[in-house]
C-alpha cells in the first residue's frame, strides 16, 4: 500500500470514521428538518417529548440487565401507532436525552440514528397488518440491526483495513450483547406489545393526534 497518488487536500475525506459520522448526522438533520417543516401543535410536541422521556427512563428498572433495552420496544410501538416521523423523533430523543444522564459520546449520534430508524420502519409494519408473532420477529430483527449500526461506527473509526473480513469480525464482537437485546425485545414485545399499542391507539383516538390544519407556529 505504498502511496501511489500525491497527498491532496481531499485526503481528509478518506477518514471513514469522520465520513460516516457526517453522513449519519445529515440523515438525522433531515428528519429533524421534516419535523420542523410540519405544522406541529403543542399536543404533538408534548406527546413526542413525553414518549421520548418514558422510553429513556425505562432504561432504569432494566438497568440490572445489561443490553436489554426496553426503549427499543416502546419506540417500535410509537412508530407503529403514530407514524414514521413521530417514531423517528421518539427514537432520536430517547438516545440524546438518556445520554445526558448515562454519558454522551460519539455513540449518541449512531444511537439516535439506529433507534430513529427502528421507529420509522415500525410505521411501515402497519401495512402488513402483523400479528403478535410478526411484532416479535420485528423486535428480534431490530435487536441485531441496532447492534450492526453501532458496530459500523466502531468498525469505520478504529479498524483497518475496511474489508468484508474485518467487518464480519467487528460484528461478531458484539454478538452476545445483540442477542440479549434481541431476546429482550422479543419478550417485551410479546408480553407488552399489544397492550402498549392498545394504550397508544386509544390515546390517539381520544385526542386525535394528527397534524392539524390550524397554524400554530
Amino acid at each position: 500500500m505504498a502511496p501511489v497518488f500525491k497527498p491532496s487536500p481531499l485526503d481528509i475525506l478518506s477518514n471513514w470514521g469522520l465520513v460516516s459520522a457526517i453522513l449519519v448526522g445529515l440523515a438525522i438533520i433531515a428528519f429533524f428538518a421534516e419535523f420542523e417543516g410540519k405544522r406541529v401543535s403543542s399536543k404533538e410536541i408534548a406527546l413526542v417529548g413525553m414518549l421520548g422521556t418514558v422510553s429513556a427512563v425505562l432504561r432504569i428498572p432494566f438497568a440490572a440487565m445489561p443490553s436489554v433495552q426496553p426503549c427499543t420496544a416502546l419506540i417500535i410501538c410509537s412508530g407503529y401507532v403514530f407514524g414514521p416521523l413521530v417514531g423517528f423523533m421518539v427514537g432520536a430523543i430517547t438516545a440524546l436525552v438518556s445520554n445526558f444522564f448515562l454519558g454522551q459520546g460519539p455513540w449518541t449520534l449512531y444511537q439516535m440514528f439506529a433507534w430513529g430508524m427502528a421507529g420509522v420502519t415500525a410505521a411501515y409494519l402497519r401495512r402488513f397488518n402483523l400479528d403478535r408473532r410478526g411484532l416479535i420477529a420485528f423486535g428480534i430483527f431490530w435487536g441485531y440491526a441496532f447492534g450492526a449500526i453501532m458496530n459500523m461506527w466502531f468498525w469505520a473509526s478504529f479498524i483497518y483495513p475496511l474489508t468484508l473480513k474485518t467487518f464480519i469480525v467487528a460484528q461478531l464482537n458484539s454478538v452476545w450483547f445483540d442477542t440479549a437485546h434481541a431476546v429482550g425485545n422479543a419478550i417485551l414485545l410479546g408480553v407488552l406489545g399489544n397492550k402498549t399499542i392498545a394504550i397508544l391507539e386509544r390515546f390517539r383516538k381520544r385526542f386525535q393526534w394528527q397534524i392539524t390544519t390550524q397554524c400554530f407556529i
Binding site: M1, P3, P7, P9, D11, I12, G17, F32, F35, E36, V40, S41, S42, K43, A46, G49, M50, L51, G52, T53, V54, A56, V57, L58, I60, P61, F62, A63, A64, V68, P70, L74, M89, I93, L96, V97, F100, F101, G103, G105, P106, F154, S157, F158, I159, Y160, P161, K165, I168, V169, A170, G184, I187, V191, K195, T196, I199, L200, F216, I217
Partner: protein
C-alpha cells in the same frame, strides 16, 4: 444512572460559558479525528486531563475510563487478528480459519490498535467533560441561542426536563407494585422482564396523561403565537467569554488546516515509520498545545472577573 450525571460544582470549568466549553470540545474532537500521529493523540489525551482535574470530575471520568478500556481491548485485539498488511510479523498461526485465512499478528497492527485506542480515549474523555460540566439546561439554551430550529430543541428540552419527574414516578410505581406483592428479583430473564412490565404499563399511561397536561399548559401560555421569545435565564457574553470562545475555536481551525496540508499524519502500513515529528510539526504541536491549554488560565481569569 444517578451517579453518572451532571453535578453542580464551583470550579472554574463549571463557571465557564457553555459556548466556550462546546467550542473547546468541538476543537478537540476535530483534532482527534483528523490527526493520525500517535504523538499528537497522546498530547491531546494529556491535555484533556488537567481540565478534568480542575473541573473536579476525576472520579466520574475514571468510571467512564473503566468501561472504555474494554472497547480499547476489543480495538487492539481485532486489529491484531484481522489485519495482515504489516511487514513485521510477530506470530503466524500454523492453521487456517475458513473465510479468515491464516491469522497473522504484526507489529504494525498492534501499533495501529494502540493508537486508535488512544484516539477513542481522547474522544470519550472530552465527552466526559461535556456530560459532567455542562448543565443540560445550559445545553438547551445554547442550542436555542445558536438559532437551531426551535420546535426540535423544545421537544428535547421538554424531554430532558421531565426525566427526573419520571424517575420519581418509576420509583413510586415500583414501590407500590412491590407492596402489592410483585416479585422483582430472582427468576430467569423472561420472568424478570415480565415482572417489570407492570411498571412499564403504569408509567406509560401515567405519562400520557402528563403529556396532555403539558399540552394544555403550553396552549394556555399561548404557545406558537410566534412573537419574539424572552428568556428567564440568559447566557451573558462578556469580553472574557468572547476571548475564550475564540481561543477555543482556534485549535479546531488549526486541525482542519493541518489535515488539508497533511501535517500530523502517520503511516502505519505496510511498515511503520519511526514515531517522530518533522520540523514544522513540532511548532504545530506546540501551537496546538498552547491554544488548547489557554482555556484553563482563561477560566481562572473569568472567575476572578466574576468575583470582582
Amino acid at each position: 444512572m444517578r451517579s453518572l450525571r451532571y453535578q453542580d460544582k464551583e470550579t472554574p470549568v463549571h463557571k465557564l460559558n457553555p459556548f466556550s466549553k462546546l467550542a473547546w470540545i468541538g476543537s478537540v474532537l476535530i483534532l482527534a479525528l483528523i490527526l493520525d500521529n500517535p504523538l499528537f493523540l497522546l498530547a491531546l489525551f494529556l491535555l484533556v486531563l488537567p481540565i478534568i482535574k480542575v473541573a473536579g470530575i476525576w472520579k466520574e471520568w475514571l468510571s467512564t475510563m473503566k468501561f472504555s478500556l474494554f472497547m480499547c481491548l476489543a480495538i487492539i485485539l481485532i486489529n491484531a487478528l484481522v489485519s495482515s498488511r504489516g511487514s513485521h510479523i510477530l506470530f503466524e498461526a500454523p492453521f487456517r480459519i475458513p473465510v479468515m485465512g491464516i491469522p497473522v499478528i504484526t507489529l504494525e497492527a498492534i501499533l495501529y490498535g494502540v493508537a486508535m485506542s488512544l484516539r477513542l480515549l481522547v474522544i470519550i474523555s472530552v465527552f466526559a467533560v461535556l456530560t459532567f460540566t455542562i448543565h443540560p439546561d445550559d445545553m438547551m439554551l445554547a442550542m436555542i441561542k445558536m438559532k437551531l430550529p426551535y420546535k426540535s430543541v423544545l421537544v428535547i428540552s421538554l424531554s430532558t426536563r421531565f426525566i427526573p419527574t419520571l424517575v420519581d414516578d418509576t420509583q413510586r410505581i415500583t414501590d407500590i407494585q412491590r407492596s402489592r406483592g410483585l416479585e422483582l428479583d430472582g427468576g430467569g430473564l423472561a420472568h424478570r422482564i415480565k415482572s417489570r412490565s407492570s411498571i412499564v404499563i403504569a408509567l406509560l399511561s401515567n405519562s400520557l396523561d402528563r403529556a396532555v397536561q403539558v399540552a394544555e399548559a403550553m396552549e394556555s401560555r399561548a404557545f406558537g403565537i410566534g412573537r419574539g421569545r424572552t428568556f428567564y435565564k440568559d447566557i451573558k457574553f462578556t469580553i472574557t467569554d468572547i476571548t475564550t470562545v475564540v481561543f477555543a475555536l482556534l485549535p479546531g481551525v488549526l486541525g482542519i488546516v493541518m489535515g488539508i496540508y497533511g501535517y500530523g499524519q502517520y503511516q502505519y502500513y505496510p511498515t511503520f515509520e519511526r514515531i517522530s515529528l518533522n520540523g514544522p510539526e513540532w511548532y504545530l504541536l506546540a501551537l496546538m498545545t498552547s491554544l488548547l491549554f489557554a482555556i484553563l488560565p482563561l477560566a481562572y481569569i473569568k472567575r476572578r472577573v466574576n468575583l470582582d
